[in-house]
């Protein structure tokens, strides 16, 4: 019982008059009240506390983006995988098939870079989030955040900023390597707006779908086993590794349901000459349909994500 000396039992004051509970800090506080710092007028229990303005969504989003970027850049495996994998594929396919011509007098390297950029965007958004978020959920990170006043949208916006940053770096790397080693021609100046909207709409759709997919994934250990095959199959049937028009028509039909096919098609419209549009199954780039399909996937992703997102792991009950 001697351990009880200085225990909570001997705290001075009743709850109503406890000094720390007043709005204004007294100029001189008893010694035992001084140990614990509180900024400004923020005592632990004040009437004004409840009225204090919560931090704005944008300030919290900025903090979240910083946390995401710091955590991402420090996870060496994630950085290497995210950036090196598409580049590795570009090097392998570029070295094997790079000089070959495909229909329309286009070098395969040119065709393949368009596909790799789309696949890279898909990987950084859908694949990364659908694998990373369940790991965070298992670690308790999401549960912790859900217990704070952080606006939940700030978490998702932080992820969007991370995805946008990674996608930007990855695109620059792919373009630089394509230009230097595989004779890639950069898009004509009038193609850059297409590049931007296809890229932005594509990663928005895939980011939302990646978040939505986390509701289907039981835990962080099973996530790669579920998500990676989806990503690989989609890459094969969506015209990333093979010329899309040369795929069997049933495969083309399946691919046309999913966003990656439309992203690769959009990127081809950026990197290939307009004449090549004749080689597309529809005989044109179908910009309107690309925008429509990606927008529909944005809506589906958003609705599913809002309905099924879990802040606690399933094991947590």
């Amino acid at each position: 019982m001697s351990e009880r000396q200085g225990s909570s039992r001997e705290r001075a004051g009743t709850p109503a008059v406890r000094p720390a509970a007043t709005a204004v800090e007294p100029a001189v506080r008893p010694a035992d009240q001084r140990e614990l710092p509180a900024t400004g007028t923020a005592g632990p229990a004040t009437a004004t506390r409840a009225d204090a303005a919560l931090p704005s969504l944008w300030s919290v989003t900025w903090v979240r983006a910083r946390v995401e970027l710091l955590a991402f850049t420090r996870e060496r495996e994630a950085v290497v995988f995210t950036f090196a994998f598409p580049i590795l594929l570009l090097v392998i396919f570029g070295s094997v098939f790079g000089r070959e011509q495909i229909e329309g007098g286009v070098k395969f390297a040119q065709y393949f870079v368009a596909g790799m950029i789309a696949a890279g965007l898909f990987g950084t958004s859908f694949q990364n989030l659908a694998i990373q978020i369940p790991i965070e959920r298992d670690s308790g990170a999401l549960k912790r955040l859900a217990g704070t006043p952080m606006p939940k949208s700030a978490y998702f916006l932080g992820k969007v900023i991370l995805v946008a940053f990674v996608a930007l770096v990855q695109n620059v790397l792919l373009l630089v390597i394509g230009v230097i080693f595989y004779g890639l021609s950069l898009p004509a100046s009038d193609r850059w707006p297409t590049y931007l909207w296809v890229g932005a709409l594509g990663i928005t759709a895939c980011t939302l779908l990646g978040i939505a997919a986390t509701g289907l994934v039981r835990n962080g250990r099973s996530a790669p086993a579920i998500i990676s095959p989806i990503a690989i199959v989609l890459q094969f049937i969506s015209g990333v590794f093979f010329v899309f028009a040369s795929l069997p028509s049933w495969m083309q039909s399946i691919a046309a349901i999913f966003p990656l096919k439309w992203m690769t098609q959009g990127m081809r419209s950026v990197f290939l000459p307009d004449a090549y549009a004749q080689q597309e199954p529809a005989g044109s780039w179908e910009h309107g349909r690309i925008a429509l399909v990606l927008a529909v996937w944005c809506v589906i992703g958003l609705v599913v994500a809002m309905r099924t997102f879990r802040w606690r792991s399933r094991e947590d009950g």
């Binding site: 909570s8 705290r11 509970a21 614990l36 900024t39 919560l54 919290v60």
Partner: protein, 282 residues
Amino acid sequence: MTDDYAIRVSGLRKSYPSTVAVDGIDLAVERGEVFSLLGPNGAGKTTTVEILEGYRRRDAGEVTVLGEDPAAGHARWKARIGIVLQKVNDLSELTVRESVHSVAAYYPEPRDPDEVIELVGLAEKRDARGSQLSGGQRRRLDVALGIVGAPELLFLDEPTTGFDPEARRQFWRLIEDLAHQGTTILLTTHYLDEAEHLADRVGIINAGRIVEIGAPESLGGRATAAARVRWLGPNGVESVETDRPTTLVTELAAQFGGEVPELVVERPSLEDVYLRMIGHQP
């Protein structure tokens, strides 16, 4: 906001498909109080606390935490509570400083993050990443993240599980400091000494029910329970249970003409009381 209770619970029930986790709990915690829920694993402590924290939905009962229903989960309400969860292992890539600063940014009037780091004793580890901390340091970081928002009410769910004795003492001092500042604390633990040391009142919980609530020294009628007096008599160890131990000892002293050999006077320990309440025969 007008009442003196930080937490009020009545008739709380929660079932999972295979078990009844909480089976009718009534509870009231005053502002400024340190209240401990003490019970064996699986007694319903965490379920109860997570309902109060707003993480879980209840099946039945009234729950008011800082004047609000936790199920509503308003951001303003969350800004007034602090949560130290069981089993979290996040933020491993960030340094202590980065973690505490980032969480502080979610609150309207946070404490100074650097002072909080000092307070929990992680000043020397401020630039270490979460993954580089020991178990005890990691738990201190959890507490730092729980208090950096300057909460009126702090939830601590089994905060010292796996601590060595020295780390536990240090941790207790930290909690005592917070209590001195007027923070209301709800602590769950399965360590008797922890509840006895820290709590103003202890609620013993078993199989989803509160068995008894009281100050640690009076639980189970400990303070007034019959004392057991033991001594070494001529025919071996003798033992008598009595309501008047002083009288008995005086008599014994007269009988032995001074010192009574191997004299022991004891009342039931918290452990005796606890084990009896949760249904174990000592």
